[in-house]
Symmetry: C2
Subunit: 83 residues, 2 copies
């Protein structure tokens, strides 16, 4: 029974507007960071899993990301098993 | 004038409660993912910067993360310059 750690990134799809990212870009520009051309904001999850093989952990994390953590209509995700 | 891309991760400090992460963990458990022992949720930013050397980009991203993207009282950050 190994403990596994996983990282999941959830980002707005490139074809979807990211108003949060745009707001941050404008805020940065008005605060003097005019070099910033584009900002996209997403979510980052660190998951700790009990008692799984690496293969089982990958399947579970993929399912959790697809079914719960990301909204597949407007978001895309990627993940990695860390340890 | 090179274009640079940077990634910034902003996470709740380990000493700070993460109610959002806890809510997700409980939701996952109730949906059958009982193996998930802990969830922490943070933010992930992809920044595109105009016309900077790698060294200048690192300094700018560090300042943006410290002063704007993260709240240093309750959050910690890390970043990388990607290209």
């Amino acid at each position: 029974m190994a403990a596994m750690k996983a990282h999941v990134w959830v980002m707005p799809k490139r074809t979807v507007l990211d108003p949060q990212g745009q707001a941050i870009q404008h805020a940065l520009a008005s605060l003097g960071f005019a070099e910033v051309r584009d900002v996209r904001q997403g979510k980052f999850f660190v998951l700790e899993l009990n008692g799984a093989t690496r293969e089982a952990a990958e399947k579970q994390v993929e399912r959790m990301a697809r079914e719960i953590l990301a909204n597949p209509v407007i978001e895309e995700f990627r993940y990695e098993i860390v340890e």
